[in-house]
Symmetry: C2
Subunit: 259 residues, 2 copies
């Protein structure tokens, strides 16, 4: 059940906290270092306001300042790490992911839904690189075009799924990207029925992946686990005929052993 959520107009909403977090998120791979004015522009804030947040984050150790330039400090990892360390099943799941990588020789990850994205929360990387970008814990990708995201969307009830479909903006990444909302709905329903999802070169040419949901012993959804491979190396028969049973077996082990 969805708890009532505070609106920004509520007297209980702390706008300074919200703005401060927005300053942190303004930094990314395209904007690793910024001046005060650049931060103000990217966040839509008054320059004096952005300055106060940057100086506060700097004094707390989350931001480094060099002359006029600001960049995030490693200490911000502590904020995300708080989530990882609070999740005691991650270490356990990590072992299963490493088993998959050892057995199949491909990368395997645990992902969870967050809004319209899937976030990687545990990962076992194979030796070879699959994608142009480096995937790591914390990476977020659109749920619609990943096997992890698609099988997680399949676990939603109908109302939640329709809510998602009514909001999602489908972007084309490759020739194979699904951009029709009805086709996406159908793929998710099929995933729901067959208990697994496949994403085939929708996000990155050559990237082919398969995911199954991961439940714990109390029937709580932990997330989904996947195996990622390259279409040139693994055909669909192998993916479904060899990899799928392995993934299903791992998911069954997780369901039996993870509390």
């Amino acid at each position: 059940m969805h708890e009532d959520i505070l609106g920004p107009e509520s007297r209980d909403f702390v706008t300074a906290l919200a703005s401060g977090l927005e300053v942190i998120r303004a930094f990314d791979s395209e904007h690793p270092r910024m001046t005060l004015s650049e931060v103000a522009t990217r966040t839509g804030m008054n320059r004096a306001k952005a300055r106060r947040f940057l100086l506060t984050l700097h004094s707390l150790g989350y931001v480094r300042k060099q002359h006029r330039y600001f960049e995030l400090a490693p200490r911000v990892l502590h904020l995300g790490y708080a989530f990882l360390s609070a999740n005691n099943y991650r270490g356990v799941i990590q072992q299963y992911l490493e088993d998959i990588t050892n057995e199949i020789g491909e990368s395997s990850s645990l992902g969870v839904l967050d809004g319209e994205d899937v976030i990687y929360v545990a990962r076992s990387a194979a030796k070879h690189r699959l994608m142009a970008i480096t995937l790591s814990v914390g990476t977020r990708l659109p749920a619609a075009h990943t096997s992890l995201g698609r099988i997680l969307l399949a676990q939603l009830d109908n109302e939640e799924l329709e809510s998602y479909l009514s909001k999602v903006d489908l972007t084309r990444y490759t020739d194979k990207t699904i951009t029709d909302i009805d086709e996406l709905r159908n793929q998710i329903i099929v995933a729901r029925q067959q208990g697994y999802a496949v994403a085939d070169q929708e996000l990155d040419p050559g990237l082919r992946s398969l995911a199954v949901p991961a439940y714990d012993a109390k029937h709580h959804l932990i997330g989904a686990i996947n195996v990622s491979t390259n279409a040139a190396r693994v055909d669909m028969d192998t993916l479904l005929g060899v990899y799928l049973p392995i993934m299903q077996k791992k998911a069954a082990q997780i369901r039996l052993n993870v509390n």
Copy 2:
């Protein structure tokens, strides 16, 4: 040069942001889920205050609420990820760490100093588990008792090093843990002289590691890279005679190739 740092008494310091971040950090592996009152107690805040921050974080998607219990949501990974994605050299260094793991068969990591700790910012894990805890990006360990931390401390100038030594509180983890401040200073000076550091079973029985500093082509210190192994499997002669040259070669490659 250390930039002047804002004090919490300054009118430019945003106390609401500082308090909100403290609420996030209150969650850890011992306190994965807490009630409002528990958060208030752990942070020393008035309950109504803690409530406002929790509800704000909840509305922003950083915290989940179940009845009276709060827990961090995966979205907080986005805050730490902002640092990782802003660091464009990480993908490059990752490759070198994986080379080390492939060549030596042991785990290798990149770490940076943050206060009295060393934070892992990139990691290549070997197949076998070395420590009781799962190390991952974001993990922080005391700099004094790790090879990464020790070689990073060795890169500080004398004033910075003495400042660190005057504040650090040395905790004993094993029988081999250095707890004498003068002995630690000496170890760091030796590391400075020989260009590498070793930590031998100070943090965890059996854990033996070696680290060298990693500079980029512009002579900026990126961090330190290490190799971690088990004392039962690798003796000191092998560590220094075989592993050290490999690490030094990798550091030299990083210095030549990383901008």
